[in-house]
């Protein structure tokens, strides 16, 4: 980034905020359409009953929970990148941190929707809120679902605050470079930030604590998600490795999603100088690492199942590999642990197309991993007489479509109206870079 200057950074990023063209609104409309389809499907389900989905006995949880876990997973890398890498002072995070955090916030919103969607009586959902009520009925704080409620809401709050705190100086910067309406709005949003040293002094400290707190949080949240299953006693669910394994998986999928989002963004917004190939390479390398962890977890699960000599476990994993859902299993192994290994070759790492495709492959694989775990466990559980299979219904696909559309709808809106790269942090990096050069 030698040729970068403060001015250039400002320029590149502010250029992205110019009034959008027609096709942009076209895309927005299409996405909105998708959202509406999803909404319609959900409404239908609420009035007819969960039965319009494909779930049954024994498989009571279907794509709703799969998507829930999938989106929570996506959400994780955002915090990872902005918090953990911030603590490790890895400079390459700065160009993608903002977009990643944004992704996090939106992904958590989407994820948060699914537990509602999958409820049989969503109109009674307030039973889960720990609010004093006249009948003195409280939720059960032993239930993993309550852990979820707490963890996810915490995560949403924290990541949003974290995200907004990061945005603050940039909002101010935009305020200073805009007029009339936009100025008015951003003036309010900026809360009067001027980058005075008193402000920076507290800001830097606060931001550090944010990072320090977000890191254990991000780990705990996906551990909690994993406990929705691991705390059960169902073979294939009840295993101690789940928490770290899910965290790794989450980061894995999240990083892949970062690539999926960043590569087009980089192209469209001409970020090549800021999001350099170096940055993408580093993401790719991290993906290799997480991929290996996930692979290790797959292996361990199988080994222990075999080692345990517990016929229920053995059967569960035999079936996972050779049973009705073996394709899902093959997908998950190939896409999540094999495909990323291609990143070991510099050639692959540095070709944008390859990066993009593999990132998509990984997202696909991670979805299937959740399928294999969530459906597989109960479909082939303890009582053989209750074994069964599950296939999603059209309604479920509709809702899934809606969810994806909603995510991209929000994201596309964001990148066009807010700085999708942190100007401040870029300048900081630039300054430090200069410092090192000196």
């Amino acid at each position: 980034m030698s040729q970068l200057t403060y001015a250039k950074i400002d320029q590149t990023i502010l250029n992205t905020l110019t009034p959008p063209k027609k096709y942009y609104w076209g895309i927005i409309f299409l996405l909105f359409l998708g959202v509406m389809i999803g909404a319609a499907c959900w409404t239908h389900q609420i009035f007819t009953g969960i039965g319009v989905g494909g779930q049954n006995n024994p498989v009571g949880w279907g794509t709703y929970l799969i998507n829930f876990v999938f989106w929570v997973g996506i959400a994780h890398s955002g915090t990872l990148i902005s918090a953990i890498l911030h603590l490790f002072r890895a400079g390459w995070r700065n160009p993608i941190a903002r977009a990643a955090e944004t992704m996090t916030v939106f992904a958590v919103c989407i994820a948060g929707l699914f537990p509602f969607i999958h409820l049989g009586r969503v109109w009674q959902v307030y039973y889960m809120l720990p609010v004093p009520n006249q009948r003195l009925l409280w939720p059960n704080f032993l239930s993993p679902l309550m852990f979820d409620v707490i963890a996810i809401s915490t995560y949403l709050t924290v990541s949003s605050l974290f995200w907004y705190t990061g945005l603050l100086p940039d909002i101010a910067a935009i305020r200073d470079r805009s007029t009339c309406n936009r100025y008015k709005i951003f003036k309010i949003l900026a809360l009067g930030w001027t980058g005075a040293h008193e402000q920076w002094r507290h800001y830097a400290r606060g931001y550090l604590f944010f990072a320090a707190l977000a890191t254990p949080l991000v780990i705990s949240v996906h551990s909690v998600v994993s406990w929705d299953f691991a705390l059960g006693i169902i073979p294939g669910w009840h295993t101690t490795i789940f928490a770290p394994y899910f965290v790794a998986g989450a980061i894995h999928s999240g990083l892949a999603m970062v690539l999926t989002l960043m590569i087009p963004l980089r192209k469209l917004f001409k970020y090549e100088d800021i999001i350099t190939i170096e940055v993408l390479q580093n993401v790719a390398k991290t993906i290799v690492f997480t991929g290996l962890i996930v692979g290790l977890a797959y292996g361990t699960e199988f080994f222990i199942a075999w080692y345990s000599r517990n016929i229920v476990e053995v059967e569960q994993f035999r079936w996972r590999a050779f049973g009705d859902y073996r394709w899902g299993f093959y997908f998950m192994v190939l896409c999540n642990t094999m495909a990323p290994l291609l990143f070991l070759f510099k050639k692959v790492r540095t070709t944008i197309a390859a990066l993009f495709i593999i990132s998509l492959v990984i997202n696909f694989g991670m979805w299937w991993e959740r399928f294999v775990i969530i459906v597989g466990g109960v479909a082939h559980g303890f009582p053989p007489h209750a074994w069964g299979l599950y296939a999603p219904s059209l309604i479920e696909y509709g809702i899934m479509l809606g969810a994806f559309c909603l995510f991209f709808f929000m994201f596309v809106l964001f990148v066009k109206h807010m700085p999708s790269i942190s100007m401040t942090e870029m300048k900081e990096t630039l300054a430090e870079g200069a410092g090192h050069a000196a």
Binding site: W61, Y127, A386
Partner: protein, 979 residues
């Protein structure tokens, strides 16, 4: 709020919130003028008699606010001793059936016109009058088996209309049995058997646990004979080409070739003679037998029947050595030559093995013996064609369905100048082709009398106000059958009179007593006259026949169904919804094929195949199982109606369409099997509505059995460990907690810890419990599509497991909520919808449930059921709903509650009487109805209670106990015996 108050609400959850989840049922109180014996909220019980099949079990009808909501067996009744089969339970869905006719309908130029009852009855009166005037025998009548009183009335009326008495039509007429009895025992009827006193039972395919003569009666008799008594068990051999439910309960199933039972039976006679049985028979007769059975050498028998030598020898040894041997004949419908020969041989065998025939009861004979032979029925219709008649009265019979391949019947009914009247409450196939359909009162609404066995008195009385304005058939006959001088002014009086005359129920007191008890069971009748020894020449004609084995390698056989009997049950949603005990398939009627046959034919499960015989063809999906001999195709009878209401129509296939309606010359009965059939793949497949995932249990400890030999106390119990194989029994009581392996502290219960013991050795898999549960707990009926999706709602289901070692061996496992002490479902619910009650029950609070379905996900037994939709109870089926139990709405989880409403009721009684609940005072619906007492319910904390005694049984275990959920449902291993 403290725990007690909450639990109050919790308890009420099942009672007072009956309208909580659903829009309230309109007019829960369906009566305006309340009868004296009705107290709101209190059930009233009316003793009556079940008329779902000719067996005639005694029942108690539970009436709440004027509606019958549940039927239970009458404990005083000698036939069923308080038990009931699933068909009996489902009788309710007859009276409340949404397709039940509200008014008579008259066919005018092909269209059905409703008309008033009086109008309809007068039409009949007029028609009858005209016919009678025309001359001899112009009025004909075909009726189902009815009580003597009604039958006499029919006869009287018909004679009055100078016609012949009515003919009793039963699809299952037991012709060959009757013939055999007539020829050997000299009784042209159906004797009953003291099965309970036998020490070895050999059956040649009689499905006495399903439909044969009197299933409930023989179910408890069989279990009495077959139960484990001081380390010993009597033997039961089933010899049949298809392993029916009865066969599945046999110690040894001898899978013989189709139509080879006779060979075996005769072979056994020969064996018996060889070892010098039957010495006290007349010499001539002995000689006759000797020569008649000469050809049936062991080699020939084995060759023809293809049963393994080892088993055959075991059978011979056991049978010949037995003290009280009992051999019973063929299944319901096997009236072809083979069937007749078998039954003859069976009777002879009994005669040889036990010359006094101690186990055969000639006095109390089954009423169904009144049924006319198939040949007579055919002759009846034939004569309608030849001689012609003006009026044909059909009382609740459906010949069009039961004899689909017989054209004479159709012709006769379609005949223009014959006016056909159908006394039927449903538009079944026969009614469709009648001219006038006149609904009459159904058994639960009427005064009547029906002794399942002569001379037993068993009464019927109205257990509820009538649903329609229909009058009783008796009254119709009194009105229509007599010009001016009816024998009585209404049927009730007629009934009283005839009971007084026939059974000496003279004074009012006796009458009331009889009604209250549901009958007069203490009648002493003189022994039937002594038999004369059979005369050889009557037998020779038949026994000498030796038909060559059929050429075709494929034979076909239709089995009477425990669910639908002869087809009359097909419009009861419960019976359709509860899967077949052996195939575990609901709503559909697959054709059952042996794997080898399937392989040979290149057929796989769920393929739709075309079956073709000389009489007809049909297409059916395939179910592959080892429970049938290779080369035999089996379908169960009862489904595949063209009409008969929404539930029966288009459900399953009617196998009778493949069979001849003709009768066997010797027995006069029809065979339900054919030696010639061709099978063809259609290329299509049909998803079977199966409710079972895997047939074998993959080495898991769900349904366990133990060898009789291993029950010996001298053998020390194996040492326990922590794995599935050797985990100890951990009672759901504080003593069940071991600090070395339980993280959780033990918790106490208040006075009661409800638990159930399920004796797999007693369970015959009949599914009565499941039906009772449907009736008691307002379970939703989901229909075939939902079942295919895996969304059936049964709280109690009888799972069947084939043994990996020998796939033809089956164990039945009643599966219901295990009410674990460490219930995995409870912890994971975010809102405490399921929780542990102070009496140990795993409560489910429907109002609190938000439908996360986490509980069922985490249930290791998968016994929780989720309401995927709002289930429908089309009017007036909703009148059957039990007001003590919530009707669950969509999005709510539900499951077995141990019939908490009954527990609550018992609590109230006990509280009023200031005492504890007595052991046995609470019986959940399933426990109450189980014909073999396989289920026992009680309080584990009471050391005297039966459950507490039973859990000390060495056979006691818990399903996959090693998961350490400490279930309160404790199973007793099934006892298998190898000899």
């Amino acid at each position: 709020m403290n725990r007690r108050t909450f639990l109050k609400i919790a308890g009420l959850g099942s009672i007072s919130f009956a309208v909580g989840c659903n829009p309230p049922q309109k007019n829960l109180f369906s009566q305006v003028h309340v009868p004296d014996d009705m107290v709101v909220g209190e059930p009233t019980w009316y003793a009556s008699t079940c008329r779902e099949c000719p067996a005639g079990c005694g029942i108690l009808a539970k009436n709440r606010e004027g509606r019958v909501i549940k039927i239970e067996g009458n404990p005083l009744h000698p036939i069923n001793k308080g038990k009931l089969c699933m068909r009996g339970q489902a009788a309710l869905q007859g009276i409340y059936n949404p397709d039940r006719l509200k008014t008579p309908v008259l066919k005018e130029n092909g269209k059905w016109q409703p008309l008033s009852f009086s109008k309809a009855e007068s039409i009949i009166k007029i028609k009858a009058g005209e016919a009678a005037r025309k001359g001899e025998n112009r009025v004909r009548m075909l009726t189902e088996t009815v009580g003597d009183s009604l039958l006499n009335l029919f006869t009287a009326a018909l004679t009055n209309l100078n016609s012949q008495p009515p003919l009793v039509f039963e699809p299952y007429g037991y012709e060959s049995l009757k013939t055999a009895n007539e020829k050997v025992l000299g009784i042209d009827g159906l004797v009953s058997y003291h099965m309970d006193r036998a020490d070895i039972l050999v059956s040649f395919g009689a499905d006495f646990l399903e439909t044969w003569l009197s299933p409930v009666e023989y179910a408890w008799k069989f279990k009495t004979m077959h139960e484990l008594t001081n380390g010993n068990k009597n033997l039961f051999f089933q010899i049949s080409p298809y392993q029916s439910l009865t066969g599945a309960n046999a110690d040894h199933w001898l899978a013989c070739n189709p139509d080879s039972e006779a060979v075996i039976a005769l072979g056994l006679i020969r064996q018996a003679l060889d070892i010098g049985k039957g010495k006290d028979l007349p010499k001539s007769f002995q000689e006759f037998l000797n020569e008649a059975t000469a050809p049936y050498t062991q080699g020939m028998v084995l060759e023809r029947s293809a049963i393994p030598l080892a088993l055959y020898e075991k059978l011979i040894i056991q049978l010949m050595g037995a003290g009280h041997p009992l051999v019973i004949g063929t299944g319901t419908g096997a009236a072809n030559l083979n069937g007749l020969q078998t039954n003859l041989a069976v009777n002879l065998l009994n005669l040889l093995l036990d010359p006094k025939l101690r186990l055969i009861d000639f006095t109390n004979r089954h009423r169904v013996e009144l049924a006319a032979r198939r040949s007579d029925i055919l002759q009846f219709f034939d004569s309608l064609k030849q001689e012609g008649a003006d009026l044909l009265l059909l009382n609740n019979v459906n010949p069009v369905y039961n004899l689909p391949t017989d054209n004479i019947i159709r012709e006769a009914l379609d005949n223009q100048d014959l006016f056909v009247v159908c006394f039927s409450n449903f538009m079944d196939e026969t009614a469709e082709s009648a001219d006038l359909v006149l609904p009459v009162r159904m058994p639960l609404e009427s005064w009547d009398e029906y002794g399942g066995k002569n001379p037993l008195v068993s009464t019927l009385q109205p257990a509820m106000g009538k649903i329609t304005k229909a009058s009783h058939l008796g009254d119709v006959m009194l009105y229509a059958g007599f010009e001016n001088d009816p024998p009585a002014k209404n049927y009730r009086d007629y009934l009283v009179a005839s009971l007084a005359e026939m059974r000496g129920v003279t004074d009012e007191f006796q009458w009331v007593q009889t009604l209250q008890q549901g009958g007069k069971f203490d009648l002493t009748v003189k022994e039937a006259r002594t038999r004369k020894t059979p005369r050889p020449k009557k037998l020779a004609k038949i026994l000498s026949k030796n038909p060559a084995p059929s050429k075709s390698e494929l034979a076909f056989m239709a089995m009477p169904s425990i669910r639908f009997f002869d087809g009359r049950g097909a419009n009861r949603p419960w019976l359709c919804e509860i899967p077949d005990p052996l195939t575990r398939i609901a709503w559909q009627a697959p054709v059952v094929i042996h794997p080898n046959t399937a392989k040979a034919q290149g057929i796989a499960q769920e393929d739709v195949v075309e079956l073709q015989t000389e009489f007809g063809r049909l297409e059916a999906p395939v179910y592959v199982t080892e429970l049938v001999t290779p080369g035999l195709l089996v379908m169960s009878i009862g489904q595949g109606h063209q009409s008969y209401g929404r539930y029966a129509r288009e459900a399953g296939i009617n196998p009778l369409r493949l069979l001849s309606a003709g009768a066997d010359p010797d027995s006069g009965g029809a065979g339900l099997n054919t030696p010639q059939i061709t099978i063809k793949k259609t290329g299509r497949t049909l998803k079977l509505a199966s409710t079972s995932g895997s047939r074998t249990q993959h080495g898991r400890t769900f349904a366990l059995s133990v060898k009789l030999a291993d029950l010996d106390e001298s053998i020390p119990p194996p040492k326990t460990g922590l794995t599935m194989g050797n985990f100890p029994l951990t009672l759901p009581l504080p003593e069940g907690y071991d600090p070395k392996r339980d993280f959780y502290p033990p918790h106490d219960h208040k006075d009661y810890r409800w638990a159930m013991v399920v004796d797999l050795d007693r369970c015959i898999g009949c599914g009565a419990c499941a039906a009772a549960c449907y009736a008691e707990n307002n379970l939703g009926v989901v229909g075939v599509d939902r079942v295919i999706e895996g969304r059936e709602m049964a709280w109690m289901s009888i799972e069947r497991y084939h043994s990996e070692a020998a796939m033809e061996k089956v164990t039945f496992l009643p599966m219901l909520c295990q009410h674990c002490d460490n219930a995995p479902c409870e912890t994971v619910c975010p809102v405490y919808a399921p929780h542990h009650s102070k009496e140990g029950i795993n409560n489910q609070i429907y109002n609190r449930c938000i439908g996360t379905r986490f509980c069922v996900q985490n249930c290791p037994y998968k016994v929780r059921r989720f309401n995927w939709f709002d289930w429908k109870w089309p009017e007036p089926l909703n009148l059957q709903l039990n007001p003590d139990v919530t009707v669950r709405s969509k999005g709510v989880m539900e499951k077995c509650s141990f019939c908490i409403q009954r527990i609550k009721a018992a609590h109230n009684v006990a509280k009023n009487e200031k005492r504890m609940i007595i052991d046995g005072e609470v019986t959940p619906a399933c426990v109450q109805t189980c014909p073999t007492n396989a289920l026992v319910f009680g309080n584990l904390m009471d050391r005297q209670s039966r459950v507490r005694q039973l859990v000390n049984n060495p056979r006691a275990y818990q399903a996959i106990g090693y998961v350490n959920t400490k279930p309160a449902v404790i199973y007793l291993k099934k006892v298998t015996q190898e000899i």
